[in-house]
C-alpha cells in the first residue's frame, strides 16, 4: 500500500512539474487571447491567419452565452475580445465592460477612418469608439436568374420601385412558367429584418434627435408597416406565417425562407452578402444568383438598415495590448481578403470593397452581384437606439409588432401606435426612476428634469409628410 502511495505521489509531483514548466513557457512565449464570438467554422481560419501574422499571439474562440459572459467579465475572468451587436453596445459600454478605444484607434489603424462612414457611426457609443467591425452588411435583393428566365421575365432594373417589384411578383404568381413548376415569389426569412429596411427607406425615424421620444407612430413608419402588410396580405408576394409553416413541412425544403430560396423554389430573397456562405451547402444555386439594390420608395433612394458584428476589448483584459493587435488585424488586407473569399458580408475595411470586381469570389463571379451589396452599405443607415430605453427590449417590441401585422392582429396604424406608446412609456418610467438618466435629460435639453416633461414634447413635434425624410 505504501508503495502505491509513493508511486502516486511521485506521479503527481512529476505532473505538477511538467505543468509548471509548460505554463511558464506559455506565459513567456505565447499570449493566448480568448474571443467571445459565434462558433462559425470560418472563425477557425480567421484565428489561424491571425496567429500566422502575429506569431506570438494565439486566439481561441469562446462561444460562451451572454449571461455567463457578463458574470465572467464582472468577476475579472472574461474573454479578452467580445463580439458585440448594436443592441448591446451601449449597455456594455456604460457598465464599463468594454474598453474605450478612442485614444488608440486612429493611430493604430482601426479608427473610424478605416471603415465605411455608416459603420463608423455604429462603432460608437456616447461619442467614443468601443469596437471595430469583423464584417459589415446591408440587405440587397438576390434573385434566381433561372426562375426569371422560366417566366420570361427581364432582370429587375438597377433603380426600381416597390411598385415594379409588386408587378414582377404578380406576374410570377399569376402566370405559368415554361417548366410548369410552382415558385414562391419572395422567400421571407425574417420579417423583422425586412421591416428594418422598410422603415428607414420610408424616411421613418425610431427616435427624436435627443432620444426622448419614440417616433415609430409617424406617417412614415405606418407607411412602411403598411407596405409590409400589403406585400404579405394584399399582393401575396411574401408568405404569411401560416403559409411559411405549411411550406416548411412539405417536400423537405427546410424550416426557413433561406432554404426555400437555396433549393431553387423561390424567385427572390432580401438578404445580406453573407448568404454566399450558406451556398456552400447549396452549390447548385450559385450559377443562378444575381442581385440588385432594394427598390426605392417614391423618389427616395433605398435605405436599408446597416448591421455589423464588431469586436470590442474587455476593459479588464490583461492582454489588452495583444487584443489591440487583433483589431489591427481585422482592419488588415489579409483579413479582408478572407472575408471577400468566404463571402461573409463585406470586409470591414472599405479599401477591399471599392467595387464589385474587388469582391468576386468562387461563389459568384459576377461583379454586379457584389456591387449591389456595396451600394446597399453605401445607402444604409445604422439602427437607431435611445439611451433612455433598453435596446434589446425595443427589439423585442418591434418583433411583436411585426408578428401582430403578419397575423393580422392589428392594423399597421394600430400596431405602430401601440409600439410607440409602449416605448415612450418605458422612456418615461426609466427617467422617473434613474437619476443618471435625469442628468442626461438635463444635459440634452438644458432644462431641469420634471416628471411631466413629456406632456409638452409630443405636441411640439411637427408631423412630416409620409415620404419626407428628416
Amino acid at each position: 500500500m505504501k508503495a502505491v502511495f509513493a508511486i502516486l505521489l511521485l506521479a503527481f509531483a512529476g505532473l505538477y512539474a511538467v505543468a509548471q514548466i509548460t505554463l511558464g513557457r506559455g506565459r513567456d512565449q505565447v499570449v493566448h487571447l480568448t474571443w467571445a464570438t459565434d462558433p462559425n467554422p470560418a472563425r477557425t481560419q480567421q484565428c489561424e491567419l491571425f496567429s500566422r501574422m502575429y506569431p506570438g499571439i494565439r486566439v481561441t474562440v469562446d462561444p460562451t452565452d451572454r449571461t455567463k459572459l457578463l458574470v465572467r467579465c464582472a468577476t475579472g475572468t472574461g474573454p479578452d475580445l467580445i463580439d458585440t451587436s448594436a443592441l448591446e453596445l451601449v449597455s456594455l459600454a456604460e457598465t464599463g465592460i468594454l474598453k474605450d478605444l478612442t485614444p488608440y484607434a486612429v493611430s493604430m489603424g482601426f479608427g473610424p477612418d478605416k471603415t465605411y462612414p455608416q459603420a463608423a457611426k455604429a462603432m460608437m457609443a456616447g461619442g467614443k469608439q468601443y469596437r471595430y467591425p469583423c464584417n459589415v452588411w446591408a440587405n440587397a435583393l438576390i434573385y434566381n436568374k433561372a426562375i426569371f428566365a422560366d417566366y420570361g421575365l427581364a432582370a429587375p432594373p438597377k433603380d426600381w420601385t416597390w411598385e415594379q417589384l409588386i408587378q414582377i411578383g404578380r406576374q410570377i404568381r399569376q402566370s405559368k412558367p415554361r417548366s410548369g413548376r410552382a415558385y414562391l415569389v419572395i422567400a421571407n426569412w425574417a420579417g423583422l429584418y425586412l421591416v428594418m429596411d422598410l422603415l428607414p427607406s420610408h424616411g421613418a425615424r425610431f427616435f427624436s434627435d435627443d432620444g426622448l421620444i419614440c417616433e415609430l407612430d409617424s406617417p412614415q413608419a405606418i407607411a412602411a408597416l403598411q407596405l409590409y402588410h400589403d406585400l404579405m396580405h394584399v399582393h401575396q408576394i411574401i408568405p404569411t406565417p401560416a403559409e411559411s409553416s405549411a411550406l416548411s413541412s412539405q417536400g423537405g425544403w427546410g424550416v426557413g425562407g433561406i432554404n426555400w430560396f437555396s433549393s431553387g423554389r423561390a424567385a427572390m430573397i432580401i438578404i445580406g452578402r453573407w448568404y454566399l456562405v450558406i451556398t456552400r451547402n447549396w452549390p447548385d444555386i450559385r450559377p443562378h444568383l444575381a442581385a440588385v439594390s432594394l427598390p426605392r420608395v417614391g423618389d427616395l433612394p433605398p435605405r436599408p438598415a446597416l448591421y455589423l458584428r464588431g469586436a470590442a476589448i474587455n476593459s479588464q483584459s490583461p492582454h489588452a495590448p495583444a487584443a489591440m493587435k487583433f483589431l489591427q488585424y481585422l482592419a488588415s488586407r489579409e483579413y479582408g481578403q478572407l472575408i471577400v473569399r468566404d463571402g461573409d458580408s463585406l470586409p470591414p475595411n472599405p479599401q477591399l470593397a471599392r467595387s464589385g470586381r474587388d469582391l468576386v469570389n468562387d461563389a459568384c463571379g459576377d461583379p454586379a452581384f457584389h456591387q449591389a451589396f456595396i451600394d446597399a452599405v453605401s445607402n444604409s443607415q445604422p439602427l437607431e437606439f435611445s439611451p433612455f430605453v433598453d435596446a434589446p427590449q425595443v427589439w423585442r417590441w418591434l418583433q411583436e409588432t411585426v408578428e401582430k401585422i403578419e397575423n393580422r392582429l392589428a392594423t399597421p396604424a394600430q400596431a405602430c401606435a401601440q409600439l410607440a406608446d409602449e416605448i415612450n412609456k418605458a422612456i418615461r418610467q426609466n427617467l422617473q426612476r434613474r437619476p443618471d438618466l435625469q442628468q442626461r435629460y438635463e444635459q440634452l435639453t438644458g432644462k431641469p428634469y420634471r416628471d411631466d416633461w413629456w406632456q409638452t414634447r409630443r405636441q411640439a413635434a411637427a408631423p412630416r409628410a409620409p415620404n419626407e425624410r428628416p
Binding site: R27, V31, P103, Y104, P318, H319, A320, P321, K325
Partner: protein, 77 residues
C-alpha cells in the same frame, strides 16, 4: 538612479506589482523613480502584450505576472 516602470492600465495586479517593486528597491537601498505607464500604445512600444509588466531602465524584466519582492530584488541587483 534606476527607473522602475509599471506597465499596465491600472488593474489590481498593476498596483500589487508597483508595491512589490518599491519594496524590493527600498530593501536594496537603491535610489529609484517609479513610473506608471498606462497608455496602451506606449506599453506596446515596449513589446509587452500581457500586463502587468515591469521594466527596469527601459528593459522589460517580467510581463503577465506579478513577481515576488525577492524575484524583483534579483532583477535589480
Amino acid at each position: 538612479m534606476k527607473t522602475l516602470q509599471i506597465l499596465g492600465t491600472g488593474c489590481a495586479k498593476c498596483h500589487l506589482l508597483a508595491d512589490h517593486a518599491q519594496a524590493a528597491a527600498r530593501a536594496l537601498g537603491i535610489e529609484f523613480e517609479l513610473q506608471r505607464v498606462t497608455d496602451l500604445q506606449r506599453i506596446m512600444e515596449f513589446g509587452v502584450m500581457v500586463t502587468p509588466a515591469l521594466a527596469v531602465d527601459g528593459q522589460v524584466k517580467a510581463s503577465g505576472r506579478v513577481p515576488s519582492v525577492e524575484e524583483i530584488k534579483a532583477m535589480l541587483r
